[in-house]
């Protein structure tokens, strides 16, 4: 009995001794959303080789929940992660405040690496005052995905589709007549891409640099006119992205084209419409338009634990400046790299079975270099909603376009300087 007790004490003591170095082990927390969380987890073996004593805890939440949680964490400085993944739309909002570390300053000096990133992605993370608040990790070069078989049935070729926007709509009429398929999912998609093209340098999508709303400019008028033309000729399926009718439309060949980020080809292949493999092709957007659809960044919260910041920075460097990690994320999750030195990899030249053997990654690489960053504004989320509402009124109720845009302009003026 006594022996047993002594053994027990001995075990406890040795466990205690063993636990001492374990307790000294450092750890950092990375907050992310799908599929960035998977990319981070996949990088952990590489991280462990570099820092065997630093554990990385991955906190994963759904996209919107993640950003709400990050807003709360930044506002109260409680439960702040050491590294924060941010989607580009939210980065714009977070960049308005002072919650993120300026990575242009020492000890980070991110500008030294600027030339290694896709230019527009780096600019998206920069503020007019010269701060750089996040490091781009993946980007979403815009592309026009189309059903080759439906196009052929209508006697059309790719150039008919992406020559001009008017040509795109005219092609839609022929596709509808020959195959019954809609040109695109929703007339709103047409507006969304057109307001993104032809933005002058220094301008935002909805506001100029002095917070004056731009929604009555020809850019918006044309976007609304073409969206209305699409609706009037019944060329849109009137379904919203990610709805079940949307994926059903792809599966059944009811939707002939979709403008989106290059990553959509991966989603179509994996789960949206795997049965349509080989029928799709990718083209550049009509009229020489280049636009970005999404993108992910890593940032360090300003009020995060200072002792962990050097490690957090090293972790971000591993994720964003390491060719092998960037390519791994590209291959496993279709996360198009923001790091330019990956662009000579053979993976870009591989044919894509889903796109009928097309080497589409080369086109997307070209597009990535041509996209220009757009200045973000604090009220972009509100502006988007106002514009969508007015477009609905134009499409559903026949409201005159100039009146709709004037109403939007008035609403945005009221809120622009808040």
């Amino acid at each position: 009995m006594r022996l047993a007790a002594r053994t027990l004490v001995g075990i406890c003591m040795s466990v205690g001794l063993l636990a001492v170095p374990a307790a000294a082990q450092q750890s950092i927390t990375v907050a992310a959303f799908p599929a960035v969380d998977e990319i981070v987890r996949a990088a952990l073996p590489a991280w462990q080789q570099l820092h065997p004593n630093v554990e990385v805890k991955v906190v994963s939440r759904e996209l919107n929940d993640h950003h709400t949680a990050m807003t709360t964490a930044l506002s109260t400085a409680v439960y702040l992660p050491d590294v924060m993944a941010l989607e580009v739309g939210y980065l714009g909002r977070f960049a308005q405040g002072a919650g993120l570390e300026d990575l242009a300053r020492p000890p980070y000096e991110l500008r030294r690496y600027q030339s290694r990133f896709v230019p527009y992605a780096f600019e998206q993370a920069s503020t007019p005052a010269g701060a750089v608040l996040a490091v781009p990790t993946d980007i979403g070069p815009g592309t026009l995905l189309y059903r080759q078989d439906l196009l052929a049935k209508a006697g059309l070729v790719e150039a008919d589709l992406n020559g001009s926007w008017d040509g795109y709509v005219a092609a839609g009429v022929k596709i509808k007549a020959a195959t019954g398929a809609y040109l695109l999912a929703h007339a709103r998609d047409m507006k969304d891409i057109l307001i993104r093209t032809g933005i002058r340098p220094g301008e935002g999508m909805y506001f100029d640099k002095d917070s004056r709303p731009l929604v009555t400019t020809p850019r918006f008028v044309r976007a609304f006119e073409l969206a209305r033309a699409v609706r009037q000729q019944k060329l849109d399926a009137r379904v919203t992205a990610w709805s079940s009718d949307w994926s059903e439309g792809f599966k059944r060949g009811g939707i002939a084209t979709q403008m989106s980020g290059a990553w959509l080809a991966g989603h179509l292949n994996n789960w949206l419409a795997p049965s349509t493999r080989g029928l799709w092709r990718a083209a550049q957007l009509p009229e020489g338009a280049f636009a970005a659809y999404g993108g992910t960044f890593f940032a360090i919260p300003r009020l995060a634990d200072a002792a962990n910041k050097p490690l957090a920075w090293q972790f971000i460097q591993l994720m964003t400046l390491n060719r092998a990690r960037q390519l791994a994320a590209f291959k496993s999750q279709d996360a198009f790299p923001a790091l330019l030195e990956t662009y000579d990899d053979a993976f870009f030249d591989e044919p894509l079975a889903f796109l009928g053997g097309q080497r589409a990654r080369r086109d997307w690489r070209t597009a990535a270099g041509r996209i220009r960053a757009v200045q973000v504004h604090k009220q972009d989320a509100f502006a988007r909603e106002v514009i969508d509402t007015e477009l609905d009124k134009v499409l559903e109720r026949g409201k005159a376009i100039d009146r709709a845009l004037a109403d939007a302009q008035r609403l945005l003026q009221q809120r622009a300087l808040r």
Partner: protein, 309 residues
Amino acid sequence: MKPLPLPRLSPRWAPYALLAPFLLLFLVFGLFPLAFSLYLSFQSWEPTSGLAAMHYVGLDNFAFALRDEWFWKSLANTGWLALASGLPQHLVAIPLASFLHLGFKRWRNAVVGAYFLPYITSSVAIAILFSSLFSTDYGLINLLLALLRELPLLGALLPAQAVDWLNDPDALKPAISMIVFWRYVGFNVVLYLAALQTIPPDLYEAATMDGAGRLQQFFHITLPSIRPMIFFGVTLSVIGGLQLFEEPFILTGGKGGSDQAGMTAAVYLYRNAFDFNDFGAASAMSWLLFLVVALLTWLTNRAFRPRAR
């Protein structure tokens, strides 16, 4: 060995100790948020910059809220929904309770329970259920309308096409009102049934002997007797209706629907804070909404208080 005596609470401190759990929770989850939102309504705050980033702006947020078209739009939506879902609740619940009171003896509790069930069902489950019921092409409600359309006279009154309940701004408000009505009518039935049971049966017996019919009894005995309960029920409906949030929020994916037709004041102030990052304006709007609720509650009180004879 004698067990140790439990520490005794002196009668002097007992009330404080017993009240402490409630007071503590109330302070943390009740009073503090109230006070903080009042404080925030006078501040401009970029939340991602941290708590230190607030600065005092006086009445700016209130001035903005009063000029904001969407705030007025959301108040109008709230009023519409409160009226369209609240009024029928009582107009149906009172006769229904009266009918259950007189017509059911043995099965009354089971029937009341069935009516009460929606009130205790999770809103998320309700939203999922109704999203599928209201589906344009496959929903049961449109299917029913299509069947009724076949009938000779009624058919002419019904819409000629399938109604896009959740995306058409004109159809969204009636859809939300239907859910709110369905959800809370049972609660009101329970209230009125409780009130009906307190009316002495002799009153009805005397009235019957005097030759009063069922309808006369209802208007001259039942209604006046349950007046205090009507006041209570209507007050709850006014407050609940003006704070309507869950049903429209879940049904419209947190956005308020096409043309913001389902964006109530509560949904709008939530969106102002969490979607548009404007906590100051959101707090100001919540206090303005409080003033509206207080005013309407006072008016309800005026309408239902006992009159001097």
